[in-house]
């Protein structure tokens, strides 16, 4: 009966996967085992029926596991309640099996342990799976954890500990796990008082590894298993530092790329704006230059003829007519100065650059400035002590400065301060539409006046743009300054803000060779000619030619005329014409003045040449400046200026 019962228990245990059971009688100090236990331990089957020494329990346990199990069993014998240990058993066939021993103490009424019973369950398969899992974890760098709501500790894998740089343990205090987190990071595992857990464990954390102090990124993935009112967290962690770093690098690259593109676009826009501005100025310059050229011819005729009438008529008899003619002449001269400014803007005025000291120019201008500027405005002129020399046309520079000073005055109707400074400046970096790097003398004219809006500043160099009342300004002042500075190879900037005044700066390139030429004053005076001096006048404009020829004849010269280059060369080729001076227009159809001059010189090397021009850009200018060897008379010229220039050339000799 008992035998049948035992058999039934055995089959139940076998079905449950048990590999054996034991009953440790503490009081009797004896061990009883079943046949499966005996088989596992390699004992005779009959061992299963009698009492065995308790030491038998440890006999087949792997030596490495034995001390641990002995300690645990000692605990049971001393009153511990539960036994749950895994250990290896060396089976009789030589194989090693993993067993999970689960047992419990049976206490007497005094809570003293009397029996210790339990089962051995073969967990070799599970152990192998665990082994594979462990290898997968360590190979994949994945650490696992399991945490039950409300506990202060979590069950973790070795890899988990290693990822965080913690000493490997199966169980870690939650606090210890969370202690590796960087400040401000959410908790890796919940601690008492922390926020309730969400539905997912997916998150990334920054940590400082406990062992080597390195900063790492750790990803957490897993599931929240709800169990009644509580929950369990089961998940894994793995290192994502490399990915994070890559990501950061990419982001930085993307960020700087965006910045670089923006910078590039801004630069391009600036360059385009500068180009557009330059093109606009160029186009307007072409237009105004063309108009001015034609105007000059007309004005030459008007002025010349009025001039002639005034000189020839006996004015004493008709003062009214004289006044009218003088008024007409004044008007024409004003028109001529206007066209002069247009030419200046269009950079087609003939410049006569000289090496000058701007400090001396400014000193020389102080009287003029004081007279031009009202007393309510304080003028201050300040220059660097060792100012570099520049090479510009001194008259045009004076003109430009005066122009700026007058503009400044007009911007300060109720008084203020005007500062004119000249400074040595080294420009280091080129900017689109800006000054090229190099050494400059910067002349700045600064006022404390009303200033201008950005919209106004953008248009301020445009010809005929004026902020002054109709009739008060020509709108050419700043355009002229602009043209002059550009033509002189310089640069101009304007800084202005409404209510904060305006500063205009002229950048004039330093002249390295500091040989200072004295500014020679030229006073035109009408000096007569001789009949043995023959002048060949070549001019395609009939009126201008007639006027010019008239003056020269009046002055006593022998004059021959031609209306183009071919005619002139024909005359020069004839033996009856012994011309001393060739007076030729620069711009003519078919053959230009300079071409004519060089071919004429080939025929008559002694021939002197004087060019006349409304503008001189086309052929006579090199590098936008007058060739030093070339003599030029600007149109419109008067009787006096023509007389003086012709005389000067003839008297110069060779």
């Amino acid at each position: 009966m008992a035998e049948a019962g035992a058999e039934q228990v055995r089959s139940i245990l076998a079905a449950a996967g048990a590999s054996g059971s034991w009953d440790w009688d503490i009081a009797a100090d004896a061990l009883r085992i079943d046949t499966r236990f005996a088989e596992l331990y390699g004992l005779e089957p009959e061992s299963a029926v009698g009492d065995l020494p308790t030491a038998t329990f440890f006999a087949a346990i792997h030596p490495a596991d034995r001390p641990r199990i002995r300690i645990a069993v000692a605990g049971m014998l001393a009153g511990a309640e539960r036994f749950s240990k895994e250990f290896r058993v060396l089976a009789p066939d030589g194989s090693t099996l993993w067993m999970h021993g689960r047992g419990q103490a049976h206490l007497d009424e005094n809570d003293a342990p009397v029996r210790f019973t339990g089962l051995l369950i073969d967990v070799t398969e599970r152990k192998r799976t665990e082994e594979r899992l462990r290898i997968a974890q360590s190979a994949g760098g994945v650490g696992t954890f399991e945490y039950s709501d409300g506990f202060a500790t979590a069950t973790v894998s070795t890899e988990f500990c290693q990822l965080l740089g913690l000493h490997p343990a199966a169980v870690l205090p939650v606090r210890t796990i969370n202690s590796v987190l960087c400040d401000g990071e959410p908790l890796l595992l919940p601690q008492p008082g922390s926020d309730s857990i969400g539905d997912t464990l997916d998150a990334v954390f920054r940590i400082v590894r406990n062992d080597d102090g390195s900063h790492r990124w750790i990803a957490r993935r897993g599931e929240v298993v709800r169990e009644g009112s509580g929950y369990r967290l089961i998940g894994v962690i793995y290192d994502v530092t490399a990915a994070k770093e890559q990501e950061a690098k990419l982001r930085e690259l993307a960020d700087t790329l965006e910045m670089r593109v923006q910078q590039e676009v801004a630069e391009r826009r600036e360059a385009e704006e500068a180009l557009r501005q330059a093109q606009k100025m160029e186009a307007v310059g072409q237009l105004t230059g063309g108009i001015a050229h034609d105007f000059n011819n007309l004005l030459t005729v008007i002025i010349g003829n009025i001039d002639t009438v005034v000189r020839r008529m006996d004015m004493e008899h008709d003062p009214r007519m004289r006044r009218s003619l003088e008024n007409a002449l004044k008007g024409a001269e004003r028109a001529a100065s206007l066209t002069q400014r247009l030419l200046a803007f269009s950079r087609r005025q003939p410049l006569e650059p000289k090496t000058i000291d701007i400090a001396r120019v400014l000193t020389g201008m102080s009287d003029l400035l004081t007279r031009s500027i009202t007393e309510t405005i304080a003028i201050r002129i300040d220059t660097d002590a060792e100012l570099w020399k520049v090479e510009v046309d001194p008259h045009q520079l004076e003109n430009a400065i005066l122009n700026l000073a007058v503009n400044a005055r007009d911007a300060m109707p109720s008084g203020g301060g005007l500062t004119i400074e000249a400074r040595n400046v080294e420009v280091q970096d080129a900017r689109p539409g800006g000054c090229l790097p190099g050494a400059y003398v910067v002349v700045s004219v600064t006022d404390s006046g009303t200033g201008m809006s950005p919209e106004t500043v953008a248009k301020v160099f445009d010809p005929f743009f004026t902020t002054k009342e109709v009739g008060k300004g020509t709108g050419l002042g700043l355009s002229m300054v602009y043209g002059f500075v550009k033509q002189s190879g310089g640069h101009i900037t304007i800084d202005s803000a409404e209510g904060r005044g305006t500063a205009v700066r002229l950048y004039l390139a330093r002249k390295q060779q500091d040989v200072l030429l004295e500014i020679e004053e030229r006073r035109p005076s009408a000096r007569m000619g001789n009949a043995d001096e023959t002048i060949l006048v070549v001019e395609d404009d009939d009126d201008v030619r007639a006027y010019t020829v008239g003056i020269l004849r009046e002055l006593g010269y022998q004059v021959v005329e031609a209306q183009d280059g071919d005619g002139a060369l024909r005359l020069l080729g004839g033996h009856d014409v012994g011309a001393t001076l060739l007076l030729t227009d620069v711009v003519m159809p078919r053959m230009s003045g300079p071409e004519l001059a060089s071919r004429a010189k080939a025929l008559h090397p002694e021939l002197r040449v004087l060019f006349t021009s409304g503008y001189t850009r086309d052929a006579i200018m090199r590098d936008d400046r007058l060739d030093p060897d070339v003599d030029l008379l600007s149109k419109p010229f008067t009787y006096a200026t023509l007389a003086a220039k012709v005389r000067e050339l003839l008297d110069r000799g060779h």
């Binding site: 001390p67 000692a74 001393a78 500790t153 169980v171 606090r175 008492p192 008082g193």
Partner: protein, 212 residues
């Protein structure tokens, strides 16, 4: 440094964990009888840390004020045992021990008594088990209830230059339907810890025998 030299080997740690688990196992069954509800206590980890570190370990985890039951022990080795709860937990524990029927007023009145009793059960179980297993005897003082922060409990203020060591046991408390957690700390000086280590080695030699 000498004080850092007291570290437990793997078997020593196993043995001590086993021994303390027997102790808390007994404590759990005693509590079970008191509360009449399922109580599970286990000691998953043991650390030896400095007093300051122990104070920090707790203060990092527990922002609130703490309650501790303190018992000094003397004998083969001497020290001071602390059972520490967050203060908010203590009433919960008292309620668990005394039943639901008490008013808040009565509860507060009962608190000291209930805590003393609970602390006594747990600390006594642990200390007595350790002493018993190590075949030594320990004399224990009557338990005291302390309130304060972790620094106060670990008497850091009074131990300016002498930073003693603490055998720090995390205990997972699981009392069904109750949010209760706690810690056991045993403050011992180095000679006492050395003595404990020695006794653990004796214990291991005894139970493991030739297999050691």
């Amino acid at each position: 440094m000498i004080r850092d030299s007291v570290t437990l080997g793997e078997l020593e740690r196993d043995a001590l964990t086993e021994i303390v688990n027997i102790g808390v196992g007994r404590a759990a069954s005693s509590l079970r009888k008191m509360i009449g509800d399922q109580v599970t206590l286990s000691v998953p980890a043991i650390d030896i840390v400095s007093q300051r570190r122990a104070a920090r370990l707790i203060s990092e985890r527990e922002a609130a004020e703490l309650v501790a039951v303190r018992q000094d022990f003397d004998g083969a080795f001497a020290g001071r045992a602390l059972l520490i709860f967050p203060e908010s937990n203590s009433l919960e524990l008292v309620r668990a021990v005394t039943g639901e029927s008490l008013s808040a007023e009565d509860l507060a009145e009962m608190e000291r008594e209930a805590l003393t009793e609970t602390g006594n059960v747990i600390l006594n179980s642990c200390l007595a088990t350790i002493a018993n297993m190590l075949k030594r005897s320990l004399a224990m003082t009557i338990p005291e209830v302390l309130h304060g922060n972790s620094a106060a409990l670990f008497e850091i203020e009074n131990a300016e230059d002498e930073d003693g060591l603490v055998l720090f046991l995390y205990i997972d408390f699981a009392v069904r339907k109750r949010d209760i957690r706690g810690y056991i700390a045993m403050i011992m000086d180095i000679p006492s810890l050395e003595k404990l280590k020695e006794l653990l080695d004796e214990f291991i030699a005894r139970v493991v025998g030739d297999d050691g």
